[in-house]
């Protein structure tokens, strides 16, 4: 048991001692998670690059269909799967593991417990990733969307690896020094409890026929709603108040948002099968639950907007906030879009089209990925004890992916709608349907290329950070509030040696 760390539920600015202790708490929390978190981010960036390559290859193949067809490993069906899995379980999940192990100690004012378990879990997770991606490209896909990685020789690594990280987090929380759990901790715990359960259910090998479809989409939508979403919301709920220096607008709203998210999101899965050969009551349940998602989405949206109210200028100064607020707004947009797409009259036209793909990327990129970028921009300097090297690299990253997303999403959505209309006209030929989607496919490739350029800029910047390069400018690129303090500067900081 470590020496007691002063809890800081109510700020006390009257004594310098309190400041020292509070700083000490943070430094020790960061020191305990450092080893795991920086490795998690390193893995994440590698998978981001790999996933980008897979994505680009897949995208180009759709309008250059005779490109790279000589080898089965590069066929569209396999590369597209590799892209999804590399991004969802490689990039996003590794980044989320890193954010979780950093954030929880900070929020419970306790050092990360059993960090070796978390580290082992991270490695196991990535072993699973390598095996899984190889499995997909070699043709051993399990054949279920979001569950392609081979269930017997790749998937166990995710259950065990994720479980070990969860164990570490749970131990940390159980032995905490603060009494109350902040909402971000709720979301993170929930995510780590939900993921292994849904992953095992989704991969359970005994289902066939339409039941297999129901279980497939029960899992896949919950991977979005109960794994990816909660951790990203946790990050938004932490960084927005933290950087702005003011608490979240309504804590009650955030609790309402949490419980309604869990309860409604978990029932959404069948909306991927609207119109399909499933019992109507199942599909209706999901459509209703999708509609009810309005409640948590509005709760989160109101909370975040009101916290940011009249302080949007912060986005000019803080790169972290730029990415995170972008992500938070995208969360509201994609969720509202999803609510509409679940209604049968809209679904009739959007189902089976590229609107779905665009919607998926509005969620997985504009929400999840942007929030992970923002989180890494905040966390990594504090763990490495140095500022980001170049404000310009951050800016290029932001604009490349910002514009890239617009170029990707708008043409693809529009083309998808035209595709849907064409498909619903029984007299249209399939050639016309293909022609309808073509502008969107090309737009996606251009947008995807821009995104990849942004990723390369980001990866390069992260690489420079790891290598210990010194920032070129005199000021920290963040213009954020406090400097990045390391242990040796602690004394100077307290005595006012630092401004």
């Amino acid at each position: 048991m470590s020496a007691t760390l002063q809890p800081a539920v109510v700020p006390d600015l009257s004594t310098a001692t309190s400041e020292v202790d509070n700083l000490d708490v943070r430094l020790r929390a960061d020191a305990s998670s450092r080893q795991v978190a920086i490795r998690a981010f390193a893995f994440a960036v590698v998978w981001l690059l790999a996933g980008s390559v897979f994505g680009l290859v897949a995208s180009f193949k759709l309008h250059l269909p005779d490109w790279l067809v000589g080898n089965a490993a590069l066929t569209f069906g396999r590369v597209r799967s590799a892209h999804l899995n590399a991004m969802a379980y490689g990039w996003a999940s590794s980044a989320m593991l890193g954010v979780s192990v950093w954030m929880v100690p900070r929020l419970v004012h306790t050092e990360l417990r059993v960090p070796k378990a978390a580290e082992a879990g991270l490695y196991l997770w990535n072993v699973g990733m390598v095996l899984g991606i190889i499995g997909i490209l070699a043709g051993y896909s399990d054949g279920l969307e979001w569950l392609e990685m081979p269930r017997y020789w790749a998937d166990p690594f995710f259950v065990i690896g994720g479980g070990l990280v969860g164990l570490s987090l749970l131990s940390t929380i159980a032995m905490r020094e603060v009494e109350h759990l902040y909402v971000s901790v709720w979301y993170i715990i929930a995510a780590f409890v939900w993921f292994p359960i849904i992953f095992v259910v989704g991969n359970w090998p005994t289902f066939s026929g339409v039941e297999s479809a129901a279980v497939n989409w029960f899992y896949a939508h919950n991977a979005l709603g109960l794994w990816l979403t909660p951790v990203c919301l946790a990050a938004a709920y932490y960084f927005i108040p933290k950087i702005l220096g003011r608490p979240i607008y309504s804590y009650q709203l955030s609790l309402l948002g949490f419980w309604t998210l869990g309860f409604f999101y978990s029932l959404n899965g069948m909306h991927h099968l609207i119109g399909g050969p499933l019992p109507t009551w199942m599909i209706t349940t999901s459509v209703v639950a999708s509609g009810l998602m309005i409640i948590p989405v509005i709760a989160v949206g109101v909370n975040q907007h009101m916290t940011l109210n009249r302080r949007f200028g912060a986005l000019r100064y803080s790169p972290t906030l730029r990415f995170i607020v972008f992500g938070a707004v995208a969360y509201t947009l994609v969720s509202l879009q999803g609510v509409f797409m679940a209604f049968r009259e809209v679904n009739r036209l959007t189902h089976f089209t590229h609107v779905t793909v665009a919607h998926a990327h509005l969620g997985l990129y504009s929400f999840v990925t942007m929030i992970m970028f923002g989180s890494i921009y905040y966390i990594l300097p504090r763990l490495l004890g140095r500022e980001w090297i170049s404000e310009r690299l951050i800016s290029w990253h932001f604009w490349a992916v910002g514009i890239g997303q617009v170029v990707y999403l708008v043409p693809l959505t529009v083309s998808g709608m035209v595709q849907g209309v064409a498909m619903s006209d029984p007299n249209s030929t399939w050639e016309q349907v293909i022609q309808a989607m073509m502008p969107g496919l090309i737009g996606r490739s251009i947008g995807g290329t821009l995104l990849t350029i942004g990723h390369c800029v980001f990866a390069y910047h992260v690489f420079l950070m790891f290598r210990g390069a010194k920032p070129r400018q005199g000021l920290p690129p963040f213009h954020e509030v406090a400097p990045i303090v390391t242990r040796r500067d602690k004394a100077t900081f307290v005595q006012g040696g630092v401004a």
Partner: protein, 212 residues
């Protein structure tokens, strides 16, 4: 300390509830789906073909479901005489229902395209038949040989559209034959056994698939 257990209990309750509703309950009902008389199980070759279908990722562009004809154009497009029902998929493990239609629905492709020649040349290179197609080519499922080298009893196909040099033909691999056998087996046009029949529609396009 009690708070965290409260949270975890609540979180687990949520997922148990959802799993019960969307996985467990349907599972207890699935035993009541009848095996259609007119639907045979996949032969070993067709089953292998299905594995190839899964392995190549065909599901990412092709669906295998005909939706309600009242509010979709699936039937009018000629994709099937009726909406597909759960018993149509009784032998499918895993399902390949699909969520994208970059290409047409395939649940009745065996009816629309019964020709081996069509399937093999299409798979070898779709643009040999339709210049506008964006479907991937699968040349690695075939062996390209001189037509002169084909012995009697061997099956080979010529490919149009300038996708093969003159004098060459393609010989399907075992996997290509299996895949085509599977595709040809995709026929769900028989009338549904009673008890699975889609009931009358109401205004607004909602249909009732009743499961006993």
């Amino acid at each position: 300390m009690t708070r965290i257990w409260l949270l975890i209990t609540g979180v687990i309750a949520i997922i148990v509830f959802a799993t019960s509703l969307l996985v467990v309950i349907p599972n207890t009902m699935i035993g009541q789906v009848r095996v259609p008389r007119q639907l045979a199980a996949y032969t070993p070759q067709e089953a292998r073909g299905r594995e190839v279908y899964v392995s190549e990722g065909c599901v990412y562009c092709h669906s295998q479901q005909v939706r309600d004809p009242v509010y979709t154009a699936d039937k009018a497009r000629g994709w099937g005489p009726r909406a597909t029902v759960p018993s149509d998929y009784i032998y499918d493990k895993p399902h390949q229902l699909g969520t994208m239609r970059t290409g047409p629905d395939l649940i009745n492709i065996g009816v629309r395209q019964p020709s081996d020649q069509w399937h093999h040349t299409h798979l070898f290179n779709p643009r040999s038949l339709m210049a506008w197609s964006i479907m991937p080519a699968f040349p690695y499922l075939y062996e390209v040989r001189d037509s002169a080298s084909i012995k009697p009893g061997e099956v080979a196909y010529s490919v149009a559209g300038g996708k093969l040099p003159p004098g060459k033909v393609i010989v399907p691999s075992a996997d290509a034959d299996a895949l085509v056998a599977y595709l040809k087996s995709l026929k769900r046009t028989y009338p549904v056994p009673t008890g699975d029949e889609p009931a009358a529609r109401s205004v607004g396009g909602r249909s009732e698939h009743t499961m006993p």
